[in-house]
């Protein structure tokens, strides 16, 4: 094989601590290397041309570029050698920047290491084979997991573009957290007024199939061709029949069911439609509280239902959908403040969370939009807001900023003043994070126009004294301890990843960080893609986000899906496993270990069995290769011989 080696200076990034000329001259002495040079910026247009020129001039059959990480520029150089007529897999990179020049200053040792890495790359290249992709049809249907505002936006954008959309929502209604909000910052427009029409759109678009009260059971397949099993959870109401008339709710005698939509303030009926604008407007029976389902004589709803939709015998069902792309938009949960013993650990009835306060403020909420405190229904006059509860707090394992609390506290304080002009609001804060458009102005307005008292410091303890609570905090600007007597305390509980986020990520085969937020492909340049092709992210499942950002990501993910669906066929990755039938002993161990079910039996004439890889299903992990005793199955581009060649170069 005729091999050319190109050593990149990367300006001074590499040449500063690596003698690139020496690396090139040593490389020239390696067997099969017929050309070697160093170049200022190999990835630049002239740099690529230099490679292409050398391929022609020296008849190169393989190229090694020693430069930055292949995770950075491998695709660039592959395209370059392909243009010059080589198969793009006849190319190897030696990472002498991230792994050499940037991590050490010893020029001699760096140069030695760079030479080694080039030798290893050349060694591997000798065993490279031209690989060819095949084409696969794309199933132009989209699965959106999560029906919050991000998911809704993504679904509507794609549906508008003519894409068939399947939306799966685990709650019985769509709208997510935004549906629970009263108003939105910094414009104070009504949450349900702006979200409501979008929710209706979802239910009315003919090319959107909505599965509410459903969860993802399993996902198999790959980009362009996923198979998804969806578990439709038991609702005890036949939704095809249910008209959402609400008669059952009115007559249901089990009135002490938990009101999840109102965050536990007040109670609901055991059969319930959580709010008037709910989409889908269908009833669900809460089995925990239903009399009939707990062995008592009842069945009132079944008798009253005009369309006979009640079905106490209902069981979960599984439906299968085939899609070509998936958007995860599973949103977030709120931090459980009961770990804060100093704030009463959830035992003080008038210490509530921000989302509970939203429900209190909402006209459709438990108190009809009148601000009252839960313990005795009294109108509060002294209201304390505490920020960073479960945010920026290492001691509870939540060191990150939730990003939205500063703003929603300002909004709630403003609304409080609107509702109760005589009341006083105090906000304990550490820093005010208001970087969005018109955000800081909004917080200033809370202070300047609405007289909200901002106190810079954390709260050490809240305790009951008589009818009120004592909020014992600090004003660090003054350097004093302060006490505020409060009627109501609102904790700005932080954002955490949605419960079950990790399990779903494992089904999707995407990564998530230590807090359960999904990892994007690149924090700056690929914010809605994941490392699993065909799976995209939208909204707070990727990290805490406010409504505008979530909507923007929903649209961004939708555009990614539509650019994928603009193609009828996609190229497959040829770096997959391949069975050498002559060596296969039909032990079946590869079939046993393959995480993707990508290997199956194949029968030759005479009934002889051999393993066979389905290249479109294989993801290229190589577990089969590591397992196969006679090494009959080889992962292309990472074969035993290729890895051994790299090791051999080091042992030499």
């Amino acid at each position: 094989m005729r091999i050319g080696v190109f050593v990149c200076n990367c300006g001074t990034n590499i040449a500063g601590t690596v003698d690139t000329a020496k690396v090139a001259s040593e490389a020239l002495a390696f067997a099969d290397v017929v050309y070697a040079t160093n170049y200022m910026y190999t990835c630049s247009e002239p740099g690529q041309q230099e490679i292409q020129r050398a391929i022609g001039e020296y008849g190169l059959q393989g190229v090694v570029v020693a430069a930055c990480s292949p995770r950075m520029h491998e695709p660039t150089f592959r395209r370059a050698v392909e243009k010059a007529g080589l198969n793009k897999y006849m190319f190897e990179m030696a990472n002498i920047r991230e792994h050499v020049s940037w991590i050490g200053n010893d020029r001699e040792a760096n140069t030695r290491k760079a030479v080694d890495l080039v030798r290893m790359a050349v060694g591997k290249l000798r065993f490279n084979q031209p690989l060819f992709s095949s084409k696969m049809p794309v199933n132009k249907r989209l699965l959106v997991i999560g029906g919050g505002v991000a998911g809704i936006q993504a679904a509507l954008d794609c549906a508008d573009g003519g894409v068939d959309v399947v939306m799966v929502e685990r709650k019985q209604y769509i709208g997510g957290k935004m549906a629970q909000l009263d108003k939105t910052f910094p414009t104070i427009d009504c949450s349900s007024c702006i979200l409501g029409p979008k929710m209706v759109d979802v239910s009315q678009k003919e090319n959107i199939t909505l599965y509410a009260a459903s969860e993802i059971e399993s996902i198999s397949g790959y980009i362009g061709n996923f198979t998804v099993e969806i578990r439709k959870k038991t609702t005890y109401v036949n939704w095809d029949a249910c008209t959402g008339c609400g008669a059952c709710m009115e007559k249901c005698p089990a009135k002490k069911a938990e009101d999840y939509f109102n965050e536990g303030l007040g109670t609901a009926r055991a059969i319930n439609i959580p709010f008037p604008q709910a989409i889908p407007k269908k009833a669900v029976i809460d089995a925990q509280f239903c009399r009939q389902l707990n062995g008592k004589k009842c069945g009132v709803c079944a008798k009253i239902c005009p369309v006979k939709a009640i079905d106490f015998e209902m069981k979960d069902t599984i439906v299968t959908e085939k899609v070509g792309a998936i958007i995860a938009a599973t949103g977030y949960d709120l931090f459980d403040h009961s770990v804060y013993g100093e704030y009463g650990a959830g035992r003080l009835p008038d210490v509530i969370t921000g989302i509970q306060y939203e429900r209190i403020l909402s006209a459709s909420g438990p108190y009809g939009g009148h601000i009252r405190r839960p313990s005795d229904g009294k109108e509060p006059t002294e209201i304390v807001f505490i920020s960073c509860v479960g945010s920026r707090d290492q001691s509870v394992g939540r060191p990150y900023c939730s990003g939205v609390c500063c703003m929603y506290i300002a909004k709630q304080a403003i609304l409080t003043r609107d509702h109760l002009p005589e009341s006083n609001s105090y906000v304990f804060y550490m820093d005010i994070r208001a970087p969005g458009k018109n955000y800081d102005e909004f917080v200033r307005r809370a202070q300047e126009e609405y007289g909200v008292q901002y106190i810079r410091g954390r709260v050490g303890k809240i305790y009951q004294r008589g009818d009120r609570m004592v909020v014992q905090g600090a004003d660090t600007l003054l350097g004093v301890q302060v006490e505020v007597e409060a009627d109501l305390v609102v904790l700005a509980t932080g954002v955490e990843s949605s419960s079950g986020a990790g399990e779903l990520a494992e089904k999707l085969r995407i990564s998530y960080d230590q807090y359960g937020f999904y990892m994007e492909s690149h924090p700056k340049l690929r914010p809605v893609e994941t490392n699993t092709a065909g799976v995209y992210l939208a909204g707070a499942c990727q990290g805490p986000k406010d409504i505008p950002s979530s909507v923007a990501q929903g649209s961004a993910a939708a555009s990614k899906v539509q650019s994928l669906f603009a193609h009828d066929m996609i190229e497959t990755n040829p770096q997959v496993a391949l069975v050498n039938e002559r060596n296969c002993i039909a032990c079946g161990k590869c079939i046993q270990v393959c995480p993707f079910g990508a290997i199956q039996w194949k029968e030759l004439r005479g009934g002889i069995k051999k393993a066979e890889v389905l290249p479109s299903v294989c993801q290229g992990c190589g577990v089969c290769n590591a397992t196969c005793p006679p090494k009959a199955v080889q992962l292309q581009h990472a074969t035993d011989n290729q890895i051994l060649a790299e090791v051999n170069e080091l042992c030499a």
Partner: protein, 303 residues
């Protein structure tokens, strides 16, 4: 019979002698054999620690070493201050950097021992259920506030017992005697003024004063404690507090061991109830006849 090394500490030999007496009585009643550490010495308390942590570790460690030499695997100290020193000694012993210096001073390692407070011993080795069964003279109808003090459960990583903000072990033990405990006494672990009784009398006036005030507000007849220092501040100095805050508190401050002892039917005098500065005779009233109803404690947090 459970055999536990007993490190009583200097206070229990002097001003808190009744804590010592009642502790022994209660443990005996539950079949716990207390083996007083022979020739024990002072743990050095805060003064030793703020002089040199190794001094503190060595002083406290010597006692642990004696206990270990006597074949005990558990050491109990009724004084949370002493317990902190004992645990500090164990920490020093576990620290690879200091282990040698420690062992050189003390003569052996002591990290294998379990060190507990009296409260932890009673809560974990006896427990509210067993206590409830053993009660002869229920304290039904009495409202008692448990005051744990700052060190008993804090810092949580070191104390490894109960909750640092809202401990409940003493609540449960008191309830087991039949008495009523107001819900969520907010000053359970707030500092009483600690050693400033001598040097900064006004601190105690302020800090212990508010504990007395809150307790009274919740309808308490007595404040139950598990620390000799807390007891001195709240009881012995109650007159000083009254003078400082122009108040007229008259709240008895018995030790948890005395309260349990009473419920077990042990003679008040044997428990040293008469040694308390504010007389605790009110606890001897038998209210079990009054429909078993507690006097309604005041405050909204009651119930």
């Amino acid at each position: 019979m459970k055999r536990v090394a007993y490190y009583k500490g200097c206070s229990l030999e002097g001003l808190a002698a009744e804590y010592d007496r009642s502790t022994r009585m209660v443990c005996e009643a539950f079949g716990i054999e207390l083996v007083e550490i022979p020739d024990w010495n002072c743990c050095g308390s805060t003064p030793a620690h703020s002089y040199d942590p190794l001094l503190s570790a060595a002083l406290a460690g010597r006692n642990l070493a004696i206990a270990a030499d006597n074949g005990c695997d558990m050491v109990m100290s009724p004084c949370p201050g002493c317990l902190k020193s004992l645990k500090g000694a164990q920490e020093t012993c576990e620290d690879p950097a200091q282990r040698k210096a420690f062992v050189d001073l003390v003569g052996r390692d002591v990290d294998g021992l379990k060190t507990v407070s009296l409260l932890q011993l009673l809560y974990e080795e006896v427990g509210p259920q067993a206590l409830q069964k053993a009660v002869r003279r229920p304290l039904t109808g009495h409202v008692l506030v448990p005051y744990y003090g700052c060190l008993l459960t804090r810092p949580a990583e070191k104390a490894k017992f109960d909750d640092p903000e809202n401990p409940i072990s003493m609540d449960r033990l008191i309830e087991a005697t039949g008495a009523t405990v107001p819900r969520d006494f907010p000053y359970k672990t707030e500092c009483c003024g600690a050693t400033y009784g001598v040097t900064r009398n006004d601190f105690v006036g302020k800090l212990s004063g508010r504990i007395l005030d809150m307790s009274q507000g919740l309808g308490a007849e007595a404040i139950v404690v598990a620390c000799p220092l807390c007891q001195q501040n709240l009881d012995m100095r109650q007159d000083q507090i009254n003078k400082y805050s122009k108040s007229a508190f008259h709240l008895p401050v018995p030790y948890i061991s005395q309260v349990i002892g009473l419920a077990l039917g042990i003679e008040p005098k044997v428990l040293g109830l008469d040694k308390l500065c504010v007389p605790a005779d009110i606890l001897l009233e038998d209210r079990s006849g009054e429909d078993g109803q507690a006097r309604q404690p005041g405050g909204v947090a009651a119930g």
